[in-house]
């Protein structure tokens, strides 16, 4: 049986998610025995359009990105987005708070605007049909390996849909909220093993918010801990700026405080 062919592609991102593939130090040689990587600019010279699975990282930030991802969709039987940038726009979504022209002027005042820059940063699923999404910033290596394994065996992968709090409790961590530290674990999809709270850091929602996440309840709790409503909304915008609930809250905040650049 011939090995399944995989292409790895990257758009606006830090390329950290595709780097996770090279970070399988113990399993890399075994993995390479089971799959054929035929397109992976960061690591190999070969550039083939013959692949069944496309792993796509990054947000769609330019018109040429959109064109390219449409071609990848044409070529691939199965398109998997990897990482927050591709799945939810991740941090890149913060750019949408200003117009593309204003963002351009701010970082590059002396250069003419490049028309290729898209007016809005989009997630991949806003441009093409996506078959499976692996969230996170960065993606979890074990999760990627699990998804690849499922695909090799013709099985449908399933990722957790519970909040980060579940994994955090199982890890035996003291609750950050109880210690007076803000945390978005209660409204964020799990699967990361609650790595941030385990290392004493607040969950900032990188895996995306749960559908119908109880944001207002969390805002109330955080208010009692001393974090004002506006600050919660600003921080939610770090990773969840494209979430419908967060968009509505941000609009409300904008109306109230024109000067806050979220």
């Amino acid at each position: 049986m011939s090995k399944p062919k995989i292409g790895v592609f990257s758009f606006a991102s830090c390329e950290g998610c595709q780097l996770q593939l090279l970070n399988y130090e113990d399993d890399l040689l075994d993995l390479l025995g089971r799959i054929d990587i035929v397109n992976f600019r960061e690591a190999i010279d070969e550039k083939s359009n013959e692949y069944t699975i496309a792993l796509v990282e990054g947000s769609i930030a330019t018109e040429s990105d959109a064109e390219e991802v449409r071609e990848i969709r044409e070529n691939a039987d199965f398109l998997v987005t990897i990482g927050a940038c591709a799945v939810t726009t991740g941090l890149n979504g913060m750019r949408n708070a200003t117009t593309a022209q204003d963002a351009w002027k701010r970082v590059y005042p002396d250069r003419e605007f490049d028309e290729n820059v898209a007016s809005q940063v989009r997630r991949v699923s806003e441009v093409v049909q996506v078959d499976f999404e692996i969230p996170g910033c960065p993606i979890d290596r074990r999760e990627l390996l699990y998804v690849i394994t499922c695909l090799l065996h013709g099985q449908v992968p399933r990722l957790p849909t519970s909040p980060v709090c579940d994994e955090c409790r199982r890890a035996g961590n003291p609750c950050l909220l109880d210690r007076g530290i803000w945390c978005f674990g209660s409204i964020t999809r799990s699967g990361c093993g609650a790595i941030c709270p385990t290392y004493g850091e607040s969950c900032c929602g990188c895996r995306g918010l749960l559908p119908g996440a109880p944001i207002e309840e969390l805002i109330e709790i955080l208010g009692k801990k001393g974090m004002p409503r506006d600050e919660v909304i600003v921080r939610l915008n770090q990773f969840a700026s494209r979430d419908e609930q967060v968009k509505a809250l941000t609009e409300e905040l904008r109306r109230r405080r024109q000067e806050v650049a979220v």
Binding site: N23, L29, I44, D45, E46, S59, A61, Y199, Q238, V260
Partner: protein, 431 residues
């Protein structure tokens, strides 16, 4: 060879999207460009309006390979803005983590990205069959770097516990011991690495330039703090970086790149080695000697050699730090810093060279201005100058189009460019 054309679209085995274009006619270079065609991300714009404590987590996402370096620069710049000086233990842990990142990044580059050229293959994948011992050694060394960061800071890509004001999690003694064990085991693999690379002859190219790196008042081969020192003799403090380096628009191009008043300059492993070679540990100095690296080196391909020497230096520094950290009885307690108005700059040596972060905050600790000057952005003009010299030599030597293309790719790769980083704010075209 009177006429040739090289058009490399999306150069492989580098981080990010770049093109090389060369046109030679009548034996003269008519056009030579290194194009950076990465999607622009506008980080400096996104940072305005954010809270200063968010800076390490946001700027880590500029780059997956050197996330920890960005994080280190971000926390130090933010702390400078808020007027806080970290205790020595915090600096030691930051040094140890940066040692880990530098090892993993250098090993990834020399073995996975650059070495295939010396074996005449297109990637590391065929080497897994033809030279399994080499690939397994590379994987062990890379794992050492990654695991150091994962054990101590939660993650290598986008470290978790490195915060403005210290560490939100202080590693346990057993975590430090695990790292110590891995560092000790790596010595043999690095000795073998030196032996292998001592046999690989880099292409010849004499391309002298100005070199810039950090150098501190201590006797340390410096990565984390110190003065910004140039091979020209200039030396400024980190907050005076703009006295030495200016970013400007170049004629016939809308690209902004960094230069000194003397012109283009190089940063990275070779620049650091040239500025700090007198401070290498005896073992790393021995490695340099075995591979024929000397302080007067002006061949940019020696950047790969310097990366191996630095990997050895980082193992030595890492072991020194881990011993000191094992002796810390009272770990520093983390507390968020009070937010206030301020201005802060930090310069940190990340794998590809000196990195500057600069932030200004208002009295709520909200960022009003941000600036990041990235190693690959600083190297771009220098890479182009090297390409000119290199292509000029090859045209005189009658090399074929294929040979020129392959050599140009190797030269750009030798700098280990990090294009996502360099295009963190805009699309750059170098003409």
């Amino acid at each position: 060879m009177k006429k040739l054309e090289v058009d490399v679209h999306h150069l492989t085995r580098v981080e990010g999207h770049g093109n090389i274009k060369v046109r030679v006619s009548d034996g003269k270079i008519e056009d030579l460009r290194l194009e950076i065609v990465e999607s622009p991300r506008f980080f400096e714009s996104m940072l305005v309006g954010r809270y200063i404590d968010e800076v390490p987590h946001i700027t880590a996402r500029i780059c997956g390979i050197c996330a920890l370096g960005h994080t280190t620069a971000a926390v130090r710049a933010a702390e400078n803005a808020l007027g806080w000086t970290p205790p020595e233990e915090v600096m030691m842990l930051r040094r140890l983590l940066l040692d880990g990142e530098t090892i993993q990044s250098h090993i990834l580059h020399v073995y996975f990205l650059a070495a295939p050229d010396f074996f005449n293959v297109g990637s590391v994948i065929p080497l897994a069959t033809s030279h399994p011992e080499v690939v397994k050694r590379a994987l062990r060394l890379k794992k050492l770097g990654n695991h150091t960061c994962e054990i101590l800071a939660g993650r290598k890509i986008h470290p978790v516990s490195m915060a403005v004001g210290g560490f939100t999690h202080w590693p346990t003694k057993s975590q430090f011991l695990q790292v110590k064990e891995m560092l000790l085991q790596s010595r043999e693999d690095l000795d073998e690495t030196v032996k292998l690379f001592a046999t690989l002859e880099p292409p010849a190219l004499e391309s002298p330039t100005e070199y810039i790196a950090l150098r501190s008042d201590s006797d340390r081969y410096e990565f984390v703090e110190g003065r910004v020192v140039s091979s020209s003799g200039d030396s400024v403090s980190e907050e005076e970086y703009l006295d030495l380096i200016t970013e400007k628009t170049v004629a016939h191009s809308s690209a902004r790149h960094a230069s000194t008043e003397r012109g283009c300059y190089a940063v990275g492993a070779l620049a650091r080695y040239k500025i700090n070679h007198d401070r290498l540990s005896p073992w790393a100095a021995k490695g340099a000697k075995a591979m024929g690296l000397t302080p007067d080196a002006v061949n940019p391909f020696h950047n790969n050699t310097a990366q191996i020497v630095e990997s050895m230096q980082c193992v030595e520094e890492g072991l020194e730090m881990v011993e000191k950290l094992l002796d810390v009885d009272q770990p520093p307690v983390y507390a968020p810093l009070e937010k206030k108005a301020g201005v802060g700059t930090a310069a940190v040596e990340v794998p590809r060279g000196i990195l500057f972060h600069h932030y200004e905050t208002d009295d709520r600790g909200v960022i009003t201005k941000a600036n990041c000057i990235i190693p690959t952005g600083q190297n771009q003009a220098n890479i182009e100058m090297d390409l000119h010299r290199f292509v000029g030599n090859m045209v005189k030597g009658g090399k074929s189009e294929d040979e020129v293309r392959h050599a140009c790719e190797m030269l750009v790769r030798a700098y280990d460019p990090c294009i996502s980083c360099s295009a963190h704010f805009l699309e750059v075209e170098l003409v």
